[in-house]
Symmetry: C2
Subunit: 310 residues, 2 copies
């Protein structure tokens, strides 16, 4: 990096998530500088723009790291290209279209001495680390997840999300799973799943999951993209010492009925601070557990047809 403590970033895939979340976070953090974008259809005023990662690399533009914000189906190829060129790589969630594509990237990153980070933005919500600490020593009986939002509001016109590999309702659902796998002291695994596919789509619009752990935890999750009211992003954990509830996707934490914490989310600021620290040390941070649970849901799930989505 030059100057020594500046991380020069390029965003690859300048779509909704890049514009809604990444740009603001990068702009607000000292030591980060956006020096280029690569997108075949989109650019920013005043920032050098290229149609592809390949064109960016060929241009000789100096940069240290890429944030991959493209649809997941093409991330593995882009990540490998960036790592081979000696760049650090930040992966938006989900980190890839498959579980198996990540191991070769991790091996490449380590061989090159570069950072690979599979980011899970919801893990940086303010309720997550306090919940993790409180649950560390408790005996957990049950978990109830409700993760419901209006796909028309959150993914307007995003056809790729309905394509194979696009995850459908697991695109938000994996956020819940990323919190779950962070706060529980023991790993869980699925025991059943119902996946609701619109007749005209290749990805589920809703999913009901059952899961457990080595101690017989009673877990369930309901993901649904159809409700049109306010979002419901809730995880309730029942323990022998009472219940803990994460609401608002991690903005609020309650013990029983008592509000312990309510703070605005600054998830992407935290992602970029963490990624900058990783890049300074050349370390990798990749946890695939949330994606493994989604793959398991597709592997194990019973497919059910529901009405077309238009």
């Amino acid at each position: 990096m030059e100057p020594a403590d500046e991380l020069r970033l390029a965003i690859i895939g300048l779509g909704k998530i890049a514009r809604d979340r990444h740009l603001g976070a990068i702009a607000g953090i000292p030591g980060l500088r956006l020096v280029a974008t690569a997108d075949p259809r989109s650019s920013l005023t005043g920032v050098p723009a290229f149609p592809s990662l390949e064109a960016l690399l060929a241009s000789g533009t100096g940069f240290d790291a890429v944030a991959l914000c493209t649809p997941s189906q093409i991330r593995a190829r882009l990540a490998a290209g960036a790592l081979r060129a000696g760049k650090h790589v930040l992966l938006e969630k989900p980190p890839g279209a498959t579980v198996a594509e990540i191991a070769p990237l991790l091996e490449l990153a380590r061989r090159k001495g570069r950072s690979l980070h599979a980011s899970w933005h919801s893990r940086h919500a303010p309720a997550v680390e306090p919940a993790r600490s409180m649950l560390a020593s408790r005996r957990i009986r049950a978990v109830r997840i409700e993760w419901m939002e209006d796909v028309r509001r959150w993914h307007p016109g995003q056809d790729w999300i309905w394509e194979p590999g696009g995850l459908g309702v697991f695109d938000p659902g994996i956020n819940a799973l990323s919190i779950l796998t962070r706060i529980l002291p023991q790993p869980v695994f699925l025991t059943g799943a119902d996946l609701l596919f619109p007749g005209n789509r290749s990805a589920p619009i809703a999913a009901d999951l059952r899961f457990t752990d080595a101690h017989g935890l009673d877990g369930s999750a309901a993901f649904d993209w159809r409700p049109q009211g306010p979002e419901n992003w809730t995880i309730r954990v029942d323990t022998e010492e009472g219940s803990l509830t994460i609401e608002g996707g991690g903005r609020r934490l309650l013990e029983g009925e008592r509000l312990l914490l309510e703070e605005p989310k600054a998830e992407y600021d935290a992602i970029y601070r963490h990624f900058a620290a990783l890049a300074r040390s050349g370390e990798c941070d990749v946890d695939l557990a949330p994606l493994v649970h989604v793959a398991d849901a597709f592997l194990l799930g019973r497919r059910m047809l529901v009405e077309d989505f238009a």
Copy 2:
């Protein structure tokens, strides 16, 4: 174990694979002894029989290890019960109904000092280790897998295999993937999949996979349960130094057109010799790569409807 060098085995799930393969292998290996079976509907003359693992454990019958030959959907619970009771555990393939259920079992096995082995019988076919050695130093360009057999012959009346978690055509296909992931010097990952579901079934009857590796390998696999002729279990690997072909599910190895090796398979003998050695040392041997690829195929795959299977 008592006597010191004898491994007393119980078979859990006395179905087709147990009768076709496990019983003969156990009977033929000195130092192994079948002391019980557990199955709600099946038993063997002269061998103490119990309706369930729980009943077997409650009986006080002395034994050291279980071979889990049940449908995969219930293996995690059985494996956990056996490990908690201090038994070594051999898992038939696939090792579970999900990828994530194995990590807690492995942790439990290590805590108990017991062996957990996820067996992949096709890896013990005679062509596999020679192929692995020959490919270790070659640059691989392409892989073509054809894995075709008649489901009516190989899985007569096995309804569970068509249920969610039963894998459908991936039940044989995972054998090909278990060979592939053993013989290639580099890990592969899927880039696309078509999954063909009969209208009246919850699992695919055929699948076409595309895969690659970090060096751009051109890989494809065609799994099909519909052909009624002789089985075709073939993996051809094209390298810069010519092609290597595994035929007959691993019984034959050819370099170009030249037959290098043709031997009868004794896969389950090899599984049990390996498992007995693991049990003596208390070590675990669990490689989930084949199951991860199957989960990835379901995650990434495009579902297509084909004619009902009756």
